[in-house]
Structure formats: C-alpha cells, structure tokens
Symmetry: C2
Subunit: 417 residues, 2 copies
C-alpha cells in the first residue's frame, strides 16, 4: 500500500460518511476502505483528524486556457461577450500562451479540489502538454467548428490521439468534438462522428446554451439542436453536452435514450444571462447530469465548490437537488461523463481524492458533513489533492507545477490583449 | 499617523482603482489617500505589493448566533425549515451558547473581510458582549415579535441601549426591531416605533421574504407588509428591511419615499426557495440596496464575497447590477443602512479596511480589479481586516479572539441539539 488516510471522515458512495475511517491507496487505485486499520502496512500515512476525505471533483465542461481572459469582459450577455470581445481576443492566442493559461488554470483546479477536467479549446495539444506535466486527469478535445477545412481538424485530432489518447495509463483521453450547432454545419458533424466512431472516442459539445441559439436552430432546421444533432448521428457515440439550458422535454428524451450526459454550468449561465438549466428535469427524464464551471472568462472562477453550492440552491424547490445530489453531479456523474471509474471512495476506483481541513470557523459546528461540504466549504479548504494515487498539492504547495514561473508567465501573457 | 498602506492597489469610491497608492490611517479614520507617500510618518507601514485594499464589507442582515445551527436543517423551504426545525432548536439556546455562536460567526466574518454587521437575534446582549470583545462594528437588535409581553422586550432594549448604544466611539449601535409582519401585531409595531423615536434609533425588520408571507398579509390586512407597516408608522424612522423578495412596485415607492434600505440576501433566498429579489428595480425606484448573508443556518456561510458574486450574476440582464454595483451594495450602501460614515476609501471615513492577497492562481491575470474582486476572489483571500484603524485579523491569525477556545466551545455547543 502506497498511502493510507488514517482516522479520516470519508464520504461514501451512498452519500453517508464514515468517521474515523481508513482509506488505502496502491498503484493509483483505492485498495482499502474500512473502520479498522488495514493489515498491510503503508509507505506513507496521512493523519485525517478533523479532516474530510471526498472523491476528487470532476469539472465536466471547461476551457482551461481562458484563465488568460479572466475579467477581460464582464457584465454583458453571451452574444456580445463572445462575438465582440472573446473571439477577437482569442485571435491573438498562440500555443505557448495556451500552455501558460492551461497551467494557470490547472493550478486553480488542483488547489480547489478538482482532480479531472473535460476541456474544449484550440491549440489543444498545448493544453495536453500542460495537463501531462501537471498530473491532472483530463478528457481533451479540439472542437470542429466553422466553415473551415475540417481536414485540418481531422489531422490535428489524429495527431492528438496518437500522442495523448490513453497517455499515462489513461490519465489523458482525447474526445471528438463539435463546438456547437450554431458554429458549424452538418458536414462537420458527420466528420466528427466518423472520427469518434473509428477511434472509439466520446464526444463533447455545447448544446442549447442560449434561447437565441435554440430558436435560430429551430428556424433553420425545423428542429431543436438536440434533434438535428440526433438526425446526423451525433448521439451514436457517448456525448457530453454542455449547458442544455434551453432543451425541451423532447430533447431530454433524446439525451436520456442516447445515454448522453448534460453538464450544468449554473454560474456561467447566470453570468451570461443565459438562464437556469432544469437539472432536476434532466434527472427525472433519466439523463446523467454532471457539473462544470465553463471557462474562467465567463465565471470567473474554476472552483467547483462554488458551482456545487450554486447548483444546489438554484434547485431548492419541491423536488430539491439537495447537497448530496449536487456532490454526485460533481463527482461520480462527472466521471461517468468522462468514461472513467472514478468519483467514488470505493475499493477498485481510481484514487482521485481530496482532503479538506474542517478545523475552521466557517465549517463548524459539524451537524452534517455533506451539507457542510456543499454549502459551507470553499475550494480554499482543500489541503491535499491526489490524482491516481499521486499527490499534486499539499498544504498550499504545488508538487508538479512551478508556481512562480506560471504566475510570472500569466502576468506577462495578459499584456498582449 | 498610525498605519500606512504602501504601494497598494486601492479601490476608490467611484469604482475605479488607484495603483501604487498610499492610504494612511490615524485615530480610527482614513486620513490620507494619495499617489505619493504622505509627509507625516506612520507608526506601522504595511506593504501592499500585489495586494488590493478594499473598503471592509458590511453584512446588512444576519443572525450571528445561528452559526450553531449551520447544516442542522437543509434542503427544505422556509416555512418547514423555520417552524419544524429552527424554532424548536432555538428553544434550547442560552445566553452562553449565543455568546459562543456569535464569536464563531465573528471569526468567520472577520476572516472573510466583513468589518460591520447588522444583527438581529435573541439573547442579543450576549451577541453584544461577543461583538464588544471582537472589535467588530455592529448594529444590534433584539426583535419585538409574537404575542409575548412587549414590556419585557422594552426593558431589555432599554438595558441594551444604556449598556451598548454608542459603545467604543459608536462601534456598537443598538437598533429597534420588529421581527416581521407575520410574527407580530400592530401593538408591537407601535411599541417598537416609540422605542426608536424616543431613542433616535434605526429600525431593522424582515419584509416580504416569501410569497406566502406577502399574500397572507394582503388577505389579513388588505395591504402588503410594507403598506401595513407604513400605516402604523414604522417608516417614520430609518428602516433596514431584509429580503424584500416579494415587494410590489407600490412597496418600492414606499421604501424609496421613506428613505429605507432593502437588503438583498440572494443565497439564503435561493436556498430557502423564496425567490430572487428584484434588486435593480429597487434601485431604479430610488431605494438604497444593501447586501446580507442572513444567518448561517440558511446560507450556510457568512462570506460576503460569495454573496456579492451571487448578487451580480443573478442580475445580469439588460440592466445589469455589474461587479462595481455589487461591491457598492456590500460596502457604502451597507454603511448607509447602518447610519455610518464608512464603506469607502476616502479621507474622513472610518478606517474599516480589508487587504486581499492577489498573488494567487485564481486571481491572475488582473485585467480588471473590481471584476476580480467580485467574480474571482473568495473570503479566504483576505489577509488583513481592520476596523476603525485596529487590525483584527492578519495572515490567518485572529488578534482579538481566542480561536481554539471558540472552536472548542462551538463543537461542544452543537451537542445540545
């Protein structure tokens, strides 16, 4: 056994907690969960007194390099924000800048308890380079979009698959991707589906984020974005559909029948005035619901603790999401969306774990651990982040990323905009 | 000059920032704001490199001792939460428990950048005792409510006024209070108004928090809560009205004409499924809008950074609140609601100041300081909290409160529920 968390309060898959628990890790996998110390000795023992051990959080939809545009354009709706500010700024990006922005984002993710991300951006091989170095787990994609030559996209994707798909025992996976219905065309969708089918990839896309996108699609195709994607076979592979704020009841049926995941991004959706997704309706319809922050330019944070709380309080009606439900969105449901065996503290699962220090004024008293985790904890309460058994962050120190170099690079990068 | 913040990024009253600024403090007041070092020497100089100096935040509506009930009852609506869980639990409280819960809350407030609170609870003299020790600024009230003998309330209030109104150069002020329309009666309101008038106090109340409260009042009195309060003279004194989720356009006119403050509590209102207050409509109607967390039992946090972000993203429509607008809610508008000359970095204002460390991955790059303060910063980024020129918290250390004693007390207190 490599590592043993001793006398820790562990969050179990059923939403209950085990106090004074022992959780053992070997070869990147959780090998022991019990009330007594395991028979096997551990190379390292981590004291869990006054600490909570949770599955690491899964950010099921983000754009890591957009940290470089944090606070660059705020207080406007998505259309203005995207077409008048973000797209022109993104034209100035280079692979090196994307690499720096990704490392900055990964530091933020790791320090706030995220152990896996689903990222969609361009210069994605530079994102992959940053992810590879950082030790983070990730599903990565370069979206197909526009009227551009998708042969270029196919060549890039093929290179990414060869270099990174399955990297480091599957820590990095490459997804196929269509950016969104409103930024592409049927020929592009078919090419992306072929790529996914031939390489057994998952698919990551934006879906019905705004009312305008949704209604313009209906006007153009006589069908909703989900329906037109379905017509062109997009859902023949496992799809992660981000936002889904304006999906209809019929769209929910499509997503459920095709085994897709819908990713809730409540903070970004509110900030861009896109609305509040009907996450409980997705779930009632049988859709796997996961959680994402979207990019830091529209949030402006990558802290999934904030996102879990937002999701829970926004779905507090007669059929509430609840704290435990929101935690599932951000853990096991996210892992499902990535096709991974993770997001749970159970023997045989990936050792993607986070430890939180609960000996703090804003986390006491402790009537209900799950409630405190979702409604009271912040990303800054995370004191240890482990991915596949490897510690990436501990007591404020990054063990895989050169903090000062990245912060210096990020400050410099911002000057180009 | 007692303290000089040197080379700091200072947030100015007009929402702009001054880089490499010098801010001097003497005798509890801001005595200097400039781009050059002041002529007068300072006893202590605080380096502001990579740090942002903001006015301290004002929590314009909270119930400090409810920290003891953090996570005690979640994921239900206000009526169930209050009548079936909170009221029975509160029956078990004692003055000593309220004192401990208040100190716990004050630690959370101070560590997350709050410099003044408007508190409403019972055993309020024990809250005052905790506030007096902590160095926090506060407007405190014990609400008049129920069918109980308001003579008892009047006697308590008179004692509180004698002991604490104006305490420590006005650091503590006592407010009059009616708990809410639905928990009291006209005789109670008149007694509270008399108390306020005779002692030149402000008034703190709950107003139209839920649709049920609002409609039951209309059924009972043929008037909205604001209108019936106005009929009985409540608004003849300066009123701080918490929640106002269901106020009508007519109610907004009353609040504006009477110079009242409406306090937005977006997180608590969402969590208890009460709705989202129309804060931009309040403002358009001329109402002073402030910000509060409500109690930790319905939030479950007292972090105003979280609340500022929630307020801004919930009002992101055509006429957005904006980051700067949200910061005003939590600073100068809160100070107005308390009748204080604070909430701004300007010469002559109270030296209620907070310093934030911006040398962190989640706060870089820094395109827009105000945007980063509201959308990206967390309470945990506060590295120094000063109230009336006195430092209460610095680099994780509490200078006026015995951290270990209070955390021990809070753990023990929770066992009685």
């Amino acid at each position: 056994m490599d590592t043993l968390f001793s006398k820790v309060t562990a969050v179990l898959p059923d939403g209950s907690v085990k106090n004074n628990a022992y959780v053992g890790v070997g070869a990147g996998i959780i090998t022991y969960v019990g009330s007594e110390p395991p028979a096997e000795a551990a190379l390292a023992v981590i004291d869990g007194t006054n600490k909570v051990l949770s599955p690491g959080l899964v950010n099921a939809h983000t754009h890591l390099p957009m940290t470089l545009l944090r606070g660059f354009a705020d207080d406007m709706d998505l259309q203005t924000w995207l077409f008048e500010h973000i797209f022109p700024a993104e034209d100035k990006l280079t692979g090196e800048l994307v690499y720096t922005g990704s490392l900055l984002a990964l530091m933020e993710c790791i320090a706030s308890g995220t152990t896996s991300v689903s990222d969609m951006y361009f210069f994605e091989s530079d994102v992959a380079r940053a992810v590879a170095e950082s030790g983070m787990k990730a599903n990565l994609c370069r979206p197909f979009q526009g009227l551009e030559n998708h042969e270029t996209r196919l060549r890039e994707a093929t290179e990414m698959i060869e270099q990174y798909h399955g990297y480091d025992n599957g820590r990095i996976l490459i997804d196929a991707s269509v950016h969104a219905e409103y930024t592409s065309s049927p020929a592009i969708w078919e090419a992306a589906v072929r790529l996914a089918s031939e390489n057994h990839l998952r698919m990551h896309t934006h879906l019905s984020e705004t009312a305008r996108e949704h209604s313009e699609c209906v006007a153009k195709y006589g069908m909703t974005p989900a329906a037109v994607f379905d017509r062109y076979g997009l859902f023949s592979v496992p799809v992660t559909a981000a936002h889904c704020v304006h999906v209809t009841d019929g769209d929910i049926v499509i997503l459920a029948e095709r085994g897709a995941t819908a990713v809730h991004n409540p903070v970004s959706n509110l900030k861009l005035n896109s609305g509040v997704a009907r996450v409980r309706e997705w779930q009632k319809g049988g859709v796997n619901a996961a959680l994402g922050t979207d990019g830091a330019a529209s949030n402006n944070s990558l802290d999934l603790f904030e996102e879990m709380k937002a999701a829970a309080i926004l779905a507090s009606g007669e059929n509430p999401l609840t704290a435990a439900g929101s935690l599932r969105l951000a853990t096991v449901n996210g892992a499902v969306s990535q096709g991974r065996k993770s997001g749970q503290i159970a023997e045989g699962c990936d050792a993607d774990l986070i430890l939180l220090d609960f000996d703090k004024p804003h986390l006491l008293p402790l009537h209900n651990v799950i409630s405190s985790l979702v409604y009271s904890a912040r990303g800054s309460d995370v004191c240890l982040t482990m991915v596949s058994g490897k510690i990436l962050y501990r007591d404020g120190e990054f063990l895989t990323i050169d903090r000062e170099r990245v912060l210096r690079g990020a400050r410099k990068a911002a000057c180009i905009f």
